[in-house]
């Protein structure tokens, strides 16, 4: 299965959430690979704590070079052994592989051509031999990366594979509008995908939204608010719910909701068990949200057509 992670705007926490989801999924026993298709800013290495590829790899065989046709194979880094996050990362019993395909250090956005689409197809197909889950983190907005994967997944051999999309957005009016526009708007994912040969309905059925940095009602962070603030917040939330429903990203289209957690704002990295239970710098709810999202990626009940 191929999962694409995208977002309307930057700063949604898309990459850090995707990395955490990949990590949780591997812990659950799946072989997972994570492809850094955020071509303008390839920093997945830093999130995983793989210092060798913090800002992209310097080996000259990252995804930028592979897609450009400069190297025959893209570099693969084993996160379990490569991560320097406190050295607590030996592969747990029963966990699957967790492999990072980094971008190139200094790599940037690039236009897409047919040969590149073909190489992208080959990459997805060969990774699918080895990994249950291929998680592709795309550049935000209407990007070349999105165009590339829409064209690649329209290839008959790839089209047989299940592909699902996660659209990340924050819980604000602007973000909701932008996320809806990214999917449904002109030159959005559905428009572009249809142009590439995708069945619009099928593509739409494979898209779900993930809310990030959400302030949950009754969460500890909301304690101590003045009654006026609480009422105001309630009203705003109701308005946002209405807006989301109207713009086709209501609760039924939502795959997960990641609570606001300071540790994610200040340290864009993987949250491990130790952060929750020992040092207690991260909230248990955050870990649960990642875990739940990881499970729901392949929970067909969550992906039934509406």
């Amino acid at each position: 299965m191929i999962i694409f992670a995208t977002s309307d705007k930057g700063g949604t926490g898309r990459s850090v959430t995707s990395c955490n989801v990949a990590y949780r999924r591997a812990l659950q026993g799946s072989n997972v690979c994570y492809l850094d298709f955020d071509f303008g800013s390839p920093t997945a290495g830093a999130i995983f704590g793989v210092e060798a590829a913090g800002q992209g790899t310097s080996s000259g065989s990252g995804l930028h070079s592979y897609l450009a046709g400069n190297v025959a194979e893209a570099e693969q880094l084993d996160v379990w052994t490569g991560s320097g996050l406190g050295g607590r990362w030996s592969k747990p019993l029963g966990a699957g592989r967790l492999t990072l395909l980094p971008g190139d250090f200094g790599g940037g956005e690039f236009p897409v051509d047919d040969a590149m689409v073909d190489r992208c197809c080959e990459l997805f197909l060969s990774l699918d031999e080895e990994f249950e889950l291929t998680l592709v983190d795309l550049s935000s907005g209407r990007s070349y990366a999105t165009e590339l994967v829409l064209r690649a997944t329209a290839d008959p051999a790839i089209a047989e594979k299940t592909a699902r999309w996660l659209v990340f957005h924050r819980w604000t009016s602007q973000h909701i509008r932008a996320a809806s526009s990214l999917v449904h708007g002109p030159q959005g994912i559905l428009d572009t995908g249809t142009g590439c040969g995708h069945e619009r309905r099928e593509l739409e059925d494979g898209i779900r939204f993930v809310r990030t940095a959400v302030l949950e009602q009754g969460s500890a962070q909301l304690e101590g608010l003045r009654p006026e603030q609480e009422v105001w917040l309630q009203a705003i939330n109701t308005d946002l719910q209405k807006l989301a429903g109207k713009l086709r990203l209501g609760t039924s289209m939502m795959l997960g909701s990641i609570p606001l957690d300071p540790v994610l704002q200040w340290r864009e990295q993987i949250i491990v068990e130790d952060d929750i239970s020992n040092t207690r710098i991260a909230n248990a709810e955050t870990g649960k949200a990642f875990e739940q999202l990881a499970e729901r990626l392949t929970d067909d009940g969550m992906w039934e057509g509406l």
Binding site: G69, V71, A72, F110, P111
Partner: protein
Amino acid sequence: MESLSVEGATATARVMFRETSAVERTVEVPLSHVSVELGHFYPEDFRDQGETLRRQFRRIAPWVDRSRVAALAGIERGNPRVATCLLVDDYSERETMPPPGTVVPELLAAAADSGLRIDYIARESACAEDGAVPLAPLVEKLLVPDPPDGTNGSRPPVHESGWLCNGSRSPATIGAAMGPARAWKPPAENASRRHSVFLDVELRGARDPAETRWSCAFLAAVWQLLRLGLVRARGENVVTPVPVDPADLPDRWSDFPAIGQMRGGAPPFCAYRTFSALDTTYLPVEHAVRVILGQVGVDPTVLQFSARRAEKEGIVLPAEPTGRISYLFLGP
């Protein structure tokens, strides 16, 4: 399909086990010494009651004399097996080519006037896809492009669909946005001596995707390979001349055999070497033919068949197909 033979009935039996489907098999074809091409004919050659044809045959007759051809083939003694043939272009201008009933008798009569006999008449469409085996696509699949320096196998061969060249093309001068401006760089011929003669050959036109139009040069390359007996389809022979009765000719070229045998007892169609007598206008085409043939990956077993057979007759045959081809170019 499986043969099992046990040799010797003593303590340790030696087993020979073989599955025929597991073994490569390539057939041999009968071979003449030289295949002489008397010309390549277009519709306009048949508009003056054979005058053009008679003129062509009169001019080449002295050059394809048996002793000359024997010397060309490196035969010192004995009777050389020389098969004559010609190609009728029923492909590029299908509609305008007069029917076999007109063309064949005119050709035979004009050749006879100069004392030439025609053993085989082939139609060009059979070199494309109209024969029993689609030959042109088959040969195209055999192409192994000549690698420019720096080709290490990591990338698929640079393949401009439908084109083949003898070196590296001039790089595009338009780069990525905001990228550095690129100066023009010349194309380069591989293995050139200091200076290049770069050639880029069109193999087939892609104007109408529904119908592939093979280029004259590519079909001429297929023609040369057929005459050299170097084409096999799944190991099987693809050259089967069919006897044609000049008194009973079909109305359409599509009903004419791919290769018609015009004379009983003619030597085999395929030969160790080919010799073509052509108008100088064919010079660029044949240059292209050589560029193509230099990149056709002929089955090495097949190349060795003819080399070994020639050796038995005391003839040294070049290993490469291009080395087995000779020409005579005549000015207008």
